[in-house]
């Protein structure tokens, strides 16, 4: 891949969603979707063009060292692109439901589209950047933009959720900034005051010589900061509110893509920290935070009464598993982590959209009032049932494979107790999840259904990701497993 192409692709990818969003903001409402959605699709195309060589083993770099994509970055690009496309496909159906309920302003659909373009554009930038400072800037950008999206309906509950998200998100991400500049300071003695002292590739290559006291602090602050954004307990308190109050396509993106991107940023810090301090401290902290996330999420899943909050707590659970896998380390758990991030993004995005359909046709979020989803809204009901089974990690889901890999990987690496506890908590979460889902989809509807005609795009958005999750669970050609192994090697600090 030539330097010129990389430069061109990256500049288009950064600029297009910004421009598309600005045009969509002012465009007539019926054109906004085409402009904003189109800009994301084209940017996604360039993202995939940079990601695929990296996934197949050829690392991509350019733009004067600001851009570097390895297999891990490539995987995150794929996740953001997939979830972004699902969200875009699901947005028209969501807007139709919202219009039936009456939105506060007729300009809101255009604003939703514009903000989505900025949001997804920011997410796409993160895995491409080889600069911890700019990664922070992109993540904070996604925080403020998505805070506007969370509260776009302007109901009191949505404003409350958005406000908490803005304040807790800003403080949390502030800690990540502190971690970033401590990492920078740790290298100044070796590299001097140059901007490539913020390049994680540089930091990784000189990790053994960095100042251990500063790196230790940097990792702890990054864990608090990006852990907050990734919804890891005990920094998760904003997440159930924001993910449940946001419009469904926004919830899908927040849950499927933003959490993965935040964990990606944390993983880069973990690699540097492990290089300087050895793996013990970062692993121990990650395992502790992961287990705590599982333990916090499970009771709220079992006792949940609100359909979208159920999915939100399930996100805390799944990111907890991911943090555990990162802490366990080793090829098996890390390959499991790669598969888990991808499969969770696909299923969770689909589930938020089908849940949005069920909530719209049942006119309530309360699980107790939603019975009979399969007959009231057959397409969303079926997708929700199948998606929940897959999300719970039952075969033939890819999440079954990834969870088995992570738990066994934990046993292999001597984290037997943690892996055992995690397995029990996973089973409890699955049981709680499926109990609520059964209440929502089976039985007879409590009120006459009010289904609007479902669009093909919505059906694609909820169906295709589930089919892919099954496919990833039962079909593992050598090329695909090689790719996941490559991502695992990067996560393990060996490069790929």
């Amino acid at each position: 891949m030539t330097d010129q192409f990389v430069t061109f692709a990256v500049l288009v990818l950064f600029a297009l969603p910004v421009i598309g969003g600005i045009i969509a903001w002012f465009a007539p409402v019926h054109r906004a979707g085409a402009v904003a959605g189109g800009s994301i699709v084209v940017a996604s195309g360039f993202g995939l063009a940079l990601a695929f060589p990296a996934l197949l083993g050829t690392r991509v770099s350019g733009l004067g060292g600001l851009v570097f994509v390895d297999a891990l970055g490539g995987l995150i690009v794929v996740i953001v692109v997939a979830v972004g496309l699902i969200a875009i496909l699901g947005t028209p159906a969501h807007l139709e439901h919202a219009l039936e309920d009456g939105t506060p302003s007729e300009r809101d659909p255009a604003r939703l589209w514009a903000l989505m373009a900025w949001f997804v554009g920011g997410l796409l930038a993160v895995p491409l950047l080889d600069n911890l400072g700019l990664i922070w800037v992109a993540i904070e950008w996604t925080t403020v933009v998505s805070a506007l999206l969370v509260g776009i309906t302007r109901t009191p509950a949505a404003i409350e959720a958005a406000w908490k998200y803005l304040i807790l998100g800003s403080v949390g991400v502030g800690f990540a900034l502190l971690g970033t500049l401590l990492a920078y300071a740790s290298s100044v003695d070796l590299l001097g005051e140059t901007s490539d002292a913020l390049a994680w590739t540089r930091l990784l290559s000189i990790a053994p010589g960095l100042d251990p006291a500063l790196v230790r602090l940097a990792f702890v602050f990054a864990l608090v900061g990006y852990g907050t954004k990734a919804g890891l307990a005990p920094f998760h308190t904003w997440l159930p509110d924001a993910h449940s109050q946001a419009p469904s396509p926004v919830s899908a993106t927040l849950s499927g893509a933003t959490l993965a991107v935040s964990l990606y940023a944390l993983a880069r810090f973990q690699q540097v920290a492990a290089g300087t301090l050895g793996p013990d401290l970062p692993s121990g902290l990650l395992v502790a935070v992961g287990l705590l996330s599982l333990a916090v999420a499970v009771p709220f899943i079992v006792a949940q009464g609100d359909l979208k909050r159920l999915l939100a707590y399930s996100s805390i659970e799944h990111l907890g598993i991911c943090a555990l896998a990162l802490g366990f380390g080793g090829p098996l758990a890390l390959a499991g982590l790669a598969l888990h991030l991808l499969a969770h993004g696909l299923t969770k995005a689909s589930l938020f959209l089908s849940a949005g359909g069920l909530v719209a046709s049942g006119r309530s979020r309360r699980i107790a009032r939603l019975g009979g989803g399969l007959s009231a809204d057959p397409a969303d009901g079926r997708a929700f049932l199948v998606g929940s089974v897959l999300l719970s990690g039952l075969p033939p889901s890819a999440l079954f494979v990834s969870e088995i890999a992570i738990v066994f990987g934990g046993f292999q690496r001597g984290w037997g107790v943690a892996a055992g506890v995690a397995a029990v908590l996973l089973a409890a979460a699955a049981a709680g999840m499926l109990f609520h889902v059964a209440r929502v989809v089976f039985g007879s509807p409590s009120r006459p259904p009010t289904v609007a005609g479902l669009r093909v795009r919505h059906l694609l958005a909820i169906g295709v990701p589930l089919a892919l999750t099954v496919l990833l669970g039962i079909w593992a050609p050598a090329g695909l497993t090689d790719t996941f192994d490559r991502v695992a090697r990067v996560l393990g600090g060996a490069g790929g």
Binding site: G133, G151, R154, E160, S170, L181, V188, A213, F300
Partner: protein
């Protein structure tokens, strides 16, 4: 006055202003205090930048004065004019406890930074305790205040503390990163302004006491 002298004076003043921030109940006054802190930090950066002949550091200081010392506070003042809340009447902790907390912050910051070595800057290391104290002060404000405007001030203090930590450790980040951070901060304040207006319009108040409905 030497650069080192200016930096030392600034560090002391920032700590004093931080204590005042914790004690004051007037939101208007707290905006002035955070503006003063930002301008002082900018002056320190300019002084050090000139003494070292490093123009990016000078520019960073000028940016801090313009954006955090002038633009953001003016913006917050105009927001304050559009809400009816000007005083933080009942924070979660009272004046006496606030004073204890403010003093505790100064001591914690001084002891936590005593063993971090900072390589060869003229007195810049002296800012580090002030910077950490500012970070903790911001956190304290965010945790103990009820009015949304006070929370925005708290965030600004917190972010200023982080920027000052960056200055103390490394003279600040590379310029492109500094610009990105400043831009994000402005956008965050603007989004806070949007939601403050919506809270007043929808909930009829700019106090977070009305934000207690989402649980479980």
């Amino acid at each position: 006055m030497t650069a080192a002298g200016i930096v030392g004076t600034v560090a002391g003043l920032i700590i004093v202003l931080g204590v005042a921030l914790v004690l004051t109940r007037s939101i208007g006054r707290s905006i002035l205090l955070v503006a003063a802190q930002s301008i002082l930090a900018g002056i320190a950066a300019i002084a050090v930048g000139i003494s070292l002949g490093q123009w990016p550091i000078v520019l960073g200081g000028v940016l801090a004065i313009v954006f955090k010392g002038l633009v953001a506070p003016v913006f917050l003042r105009s927001m304050l004019g559009s809400t009816t809340v000007a005083v933080e009447r009942h924070p979660y902790i009272g004046t006496r406890l606030s004073l204890v907390a403010a003093i505790a912050i100064v001591f914690v910051a001084a002891s936590a930074t005593s063993d971090i070595g900072v390589s060869g800057a003229p007195g810049v290391a002296r800012v580090l305790p002030a910077a950490i104290a500012q970070v903790l002060t911001g956190l304290l404000l965010v945790m103990t205040r009820r009015k949304v405007m006070s929370l925005l001030v708290g965030i600004l203090v917190f972010e200023n503390g982080i920027a000052l930590t960056a200055f103390a450790l490394t003279y600040g980040m590379p310029l492109v990163v500094e610009l990105g951070i400043a831009f994000d901060l402005l956008v965050a304040v603007a989004v806070g302004w949007v939601y403050t207006r919506q809270m007043v319009a929808v909930l009829g108040t700019a106090s977070t006491d009305s934000l207690r409905s989402l649980r479980g």
